[in-house]
Each structure stands twice: as C-alpha cells, then as structure tokens.
Amino acid sequence: MQYESLLNKTLVDMKPSGIRRFFDLAHEMEDVISLSVGEPDFTTPWHIREVGIKTLERGKTWYSPNAGFIELRSAISRYIERRFGVHYEAKTDVLVTVGGSEAIDLCMRSLINPGDEVLVPSPSFVCYGPLASMAGGVPVTLETKAEDHFRLTPETLKAAITPKTKLLILPFPNNPTGAVMRREHLEAIADVLRDTDIMVLSDEIYSELTYHDEGPISFAAIDGMQERTLLVSGFSKAYAMTGWRLGYVCGPTPIMGQIVKLHQYGIMSAPTTAQYAAIEAMDNGDDDVVHMRADYDQRRRLIVSELNNMGLTCFDPQGAFYVFPSIQSTGMTSEEFCVSLLQEKHVAVVPGTAFGDCGEGFVRISYCYSIKHIIEAMRRMREFLAERGLLKEGE
C-alpha cells in the first residue's frame, strides 16, 4: 500500500521533534553526562504517591467524570485563587486533562478555523506549531531575542497581528530559554490585545518554578485578560509528576463547555489514580514545591555562573529549569556544538534550533540534575572549550 498517500498530509509534512532526535544520538554512547532532559530529577513526593497507591488498593479504578473529579477541579480552582488571585468556577471553568499537552491540543482544536493564524513565540517548546497546523491553523513565529531576555515584546506582537490572527501562545516561564514575563511585560502585551478579539493560550506549566521575588503572575490576572485567556498548567513540573500525565485548562465558561465536548469524545477522562494523587498535591504539596524550587534555584545559580565564567554567556533565566547560553563565541552552529560536545566529551545538551530557527547560536541546558552531575558536566564543557583555545586567559 502507498501509505504516504493515505496519511494526513499535514502530519506527513511535520518534522519530528529535534529534542528526541538528539536523545537518540546520546543513547548510542557510553558514559554520557546528560543535561538534556526536561523533567524533574525528584520523584513524586511520597505522600502524593501514597494517595495514588491507597486508592488503587481500595479499588478506585473506574472512569472519573469527563471533566475530572469535582474535588480535584475545586482544589485547582482554590489553588489558582490563592496563588494568582483569579477565580474560576470549578464546575464550569476547569477541565482536567492528560498533561498540559492535551490541554494545548484541545485549545487549538476548539478555537481554530482553517486559515486562522496562531502566534507562537520562538524559541519555545516544540508542540505549538505542529498542533496549530493539525487544527488547520497557520503558525506564525514571533521571534524573541537574547537582548530582551527572550521575552515577547509588544512591538513584535503588534507587527505580527493581521485580521486573521486568532490566538496568541504565551509560553512563560519558557522552555527552552528560562525567560519569564514580569507583571510589567504582561501588561504591555495586554495593552496590545485589549481592543482585539485575539485569544490567548497562556501555558503556565512552569509557573511554580519562578525564581524572582515577585513570584509568578498569571496572564489571567492582568486587568481585563481573563475573558480572553485559556490558562493551561499541570502537575508534571511543580510536583515532579511527569509520568502521571495530568494537567488542566481553565477558561471562560462558553469556551470550556465546547472544549469539554472534545475531551469527552477524544479522551473520555484523565487517569483516575493520577487525579486522586493530584488532589493531595494541591491540598498538601506546597512545602514540596518550596523545597524543590529552592534546590533548583541553587543549581540554576551555579550553572549560570559556571557558563558565564567559561565565556558561554547567558542572561539570568528566572523560570523553568533551563539555561540557554549563547555558543556564538565558538564560531560553531548549535548543531555542530552539540554534536562535537557529545562526541568528544560525552556531554549531551540540546541545540537551540530544536526549539525553532531563532534558537540558532544557543543551546538548552537543563539543571534537573544533581550538583555533582552538573559540576562534572561543566568541567567537561570547560575542557572542550580549552582544547579549542576558546577559554580566555586566567579562566
């Protein structure tokens, strides 16, 4: 059979994820020190796991209601209220999904009509463009720059808006750059959107991993923005629950009613065991988050300092668990740098280009690793630069 001609054309034309491709290379080698994964090195806190185990023991193995257990939706609603000062009605405005990823897919498919433009800041996580395309939309790249600390500027946004613009993705704190949008930056974006009908998908999956004193600000908390915002988040990053596959989306009631339909037909309901565990995470997990965040923060400071000292300059990334140093001083492309570093020093980091063309000249380094592991990787990277005569005197 001619499968190629049978398959969906948009899907066939879609490039596979550049992150995964790089993992492939790394896994073929021995003694690799990796700083490449995008998930916590912590395991899910025990009290959360225990709740999952107990509900299994008690035989709680059925489907949940389509939108998720009301106890969990209420817990999410309470959490968003106390953390961001935004109110969502648990019954009508909160949907529990299979990870943040399902939530993103649902938002795209619920909003986009063929030809609608979706504004995607870049570099950013790999899924937005492909999911927008599959929903019939046209992804439009909004370049973010190192000199702006990879924030989306109102000027860039304004220049990209056309009559066809349907949706703006706001992926902050950002994977891969670690960029965050402070209140003032979000307000500047809000000012551009205020008189339009453009919707916003605010992917706040990393919001608990924000390291500046102001703390995380939700886009929905900016004056007048809640009515146009679909707030996507989840349990993976904050509570080290990646494998449980649990996220959520909150938004205006009329939109959520439609999104739930799609979720109901496509997924039925998010995993039951994970939902029980997530209730425990929301109700009693604040201390775990504080503890993990403090740990990430120390590693973040260490790795930023080490990289800047060896001449791979990076701005102070105040969110997520990535740093995004420039490797332009080496004269290599991102891809060349990563491949050589892997082959010669067995250190795996991800080329910035895996997250969009404007990631060229940068690499993504994750600090979801032990201090010992990070120090060894930094030592090898320094050696890599020294052997090329790229370390300055006295370094």
């Binding site: 995964r20 993992f23 492939d24 896994h27 990796s34 994964v37 260490l302």
Partner: protein
Amino acid sequence: MDKLLNLLDRNARLSNAQLAAMLGRTEAEVEAQIAELEKNGVIRAYKAVIDWDKTNREYVTAIIELHVTPKKDSGFEGIAEEIMKFREVESISLMSGGYDFSIVVNARTFRDVAEFVAKRLSPLDSVVSTATHFVLRRYKENNVIFLDDDRDERGEL
C-alpha cells in the same frame, strides 16, 4: 547560614566560588562564614564518605550497646570522655531507652573487636554490661546510598 551548612553537608568539596554562586553571596562572604563556623566548632571536620567494601581493606564494624553506672562526680560525660579516647571508637552517643551508650567500633578483624570489648571496654569501672552487634552490610551512610545502579531512566525512548 543554614543553607551554607546544608550545601556543605551534602558536598564539602564545593569551592567557595561555587558556594557563593549558589547562595547569591560573594566569595569573600562565604569564606568568612566558613571560617566563623570552623572557629565556633559548628563545622568539626571535612570527610569523604567511603564505601570500604569496594576496597581491599580488611575491616569489621561493630555497634556496641553499653550499660554503665554514671560516675558520682562527672556522670555520663566522664565515661564518654574515657571511651572516646580509644582509637577503635568511631562514634559514641548517649541514648534514651534500653541502654546508655551506643558505640561504633572499627577494627581489622572480628577478634580485634572481641579483644577490645573484653580487655579495654568491659574492665572500665562504670561499665555494667555490653552487647556487641556486628555490621554485615552497609546500604546507606551519611545520606549516601551505596548502590551502583543509579541509571537515569529519564529521556529514554
């Protein structure tokens, strides 16, 4: 201060520059704080956590429970001071519960431990009785897990 101690507790080989970066302080500040902590006896020593089973060192470790009669003048303190001076004694702690002192003893052989107990520990005036337990295997020490299977399962395909 606690943050600095926690970092050193986990890894005493971090340089002052690394510690300073992690804590958002200057190198000079960290240096001064460590000096202060050493001076005050908060930091007593820096040691490696060694899995001796991976070396060819012949050794045996025993935990000894000790019942004593406290001394009239110096109580438990005096006895502890007497016992801690023995080279074989790695640690000694005063305990609540069924016995008074817990002593960790390292020696080359089983016989060496037996001789230590019989000839040096038991004859002490205040010692009423001893119970010696030999360590068979160490799994975790000083928060370090002694397992080689630390494969990172993340990022696999």
